[in-house]
């Protein structure tokens, strides 16, 4: 039997394209599973107790910036300029900024210029979803608790740019909703 090389090559190319598409799909699917949170994760309202200690009842805001951090985490200090810049922008957008440490004595938070709330104790629903084993974590939630952007580990310029883009998108989405 004589092999038709042209036909063979065409079949091989088609097969390789199919394999590549499958691998790409698999890559994004596994990557979605690798993160601390699924893209579809929904956070409950951030109910808890502040540092006074005083009950914290979250206000209705278009978004919330949630940060998991502790004083003993060196990486949490490294990305402060990026986090502060984001917190500042979040406050300008009329959203709330909340910081929580894995253990209640791990953060000596004295407050900041953007009125960030330090949550010392959390309720069951928030404790169930928010993973305390990785610091720092920076999470941008929309008003319905959906994750719009999050970063495990230190933030950098690229992460900040992405977060700010998402914040702007959130703002424009809200503008479109309210007409």
């Amino acid at each position: 039997m004589r092999i038709n090389w042209r036909h063979f090559n065409e079949c091989l190319i088609v097969a390789l394209i199919v394999v590549n598409v499958f691998e790409l799909e698999l890559f994004y699917w596994v990557r979605g599973k690798t993160g601390l949170y699924q893209p579809t994760s929904t956070f409950p309202s951030l109910a808890g107790f502040g540092s006074n200690p005083q009950r914290y009842i979250p206000a209705v805001t278009p978004c919330v910036l949630l940060r998991v951090s502790s004083d003993s985490c060196n990486y949490c200090r490294v990305d402060q300029p990026f986090y502060r810049r984001l917190a500042e922008q979040v406050r300008h957008a009329g959203c709330e900024s909340v910081i929580v440490s894995p253990k209640s004595g791990q953060l000596n938070f004295q407050g900041d210029a953007w009125g960030t709330i330090h949550l010392r104790f959390v309720d069951y629903r928030l404790g169930r979803i928010l993973v305390p084993f990785v610091t720092p974590q920076t999470i941008l939630l929309d008003g319905d608790g959906h994750i719009r952007w999050y970063r495990e580990g230190t933030m950098d310029q690229k992460a900040l740019a992405k977060a700010l883009r998402e914040l702007a998108r959130l703002h424009s989405d809200r503008g479109a909703k309210t007409g």
Binding site: V30, P53, R55, Y124, R128
Partner: protein
């Protein structure tokens, strides 16, 4: 079509396929490592919270840093949706455990963690245990992701996790499981 074009396409597609294969394999390893890490139940604790009276609560600790009376601390979850039924269940468990243990033995401190913040506070006057509305994130994460229905976490005098007690719908059976883990 030039004869070398298919050859180049095959080489490039094969290289890309190999590269993607390696990336997928890396992601699977990361995913597996993370799952193993988070499936591990931490033995240490961070037992600070807010009780039903709105005040900060921590276990009573003696001068040696251990639980007072060299006791135990049992954490369980109160499902607010079940109302007084849930309180009665744990009152019965506590009563049965007390009856099964010798008088003057090491004390057991019971903390019922509410699954809806302040919503269980109204039941404190009916409960023979401390109702806790809020906890440290670390401890709440462990409690909320470990305890199923009527299960419990038993901490020893050094506040190290001693046992994860499985769930039972029968208070007497739950009490006997707790007593068994206290002895073990």
């Amino acid at each position: 079509m030039a004869s070398w074009l298919p050859a180049i396409a095959i080489v490039l597609l094969s290289a890309n396929s190999l590269y993607l294969g390696i990336r997928v394999s890396d992601e699977i390893s990361i995913c597996k490592a993370r799952r193993d890490r988070f499936a591990y139940l931490p033995r240490d604790s961070s037992l600070n919270g807010i009780a039903s009276d709105g005040k900060v609560i921590s276990p009573a600790v003696a001068a040696n840093g251990r639980l007072e009376g060299e006791g135990f601390l049992l954490l369980f979850v109160i499902d607010v949706g079940k109302g007084t039924e849930e309180i009665e269940y744990w009152n019965k468990v506590i009563e049965t455990v007390a009856a099964a243990r010798p008088q003057g033995g090491r004390p057991i401190y019971y903390w019922g963690i509410c699954n809806a913040g302040n919503a269980c506070n109204q039941y404190q006057r009916l409960a023979n245990f401390t109702i806790v509305a809020f906890l440290d994130l670390y401890q709440m994460h462990v409690v909320a992701n470990t305890i199923q229905a009527h299960g419990a976490l038993l901490y020893d005098r050094a506040m190290i996790l001693r046992s994860h007690i499985p769930s039972s719908n029968e208070p007497s059976l739950q009490a006997s499981l707790i007593v068994k883990h206290l002895r073990g």
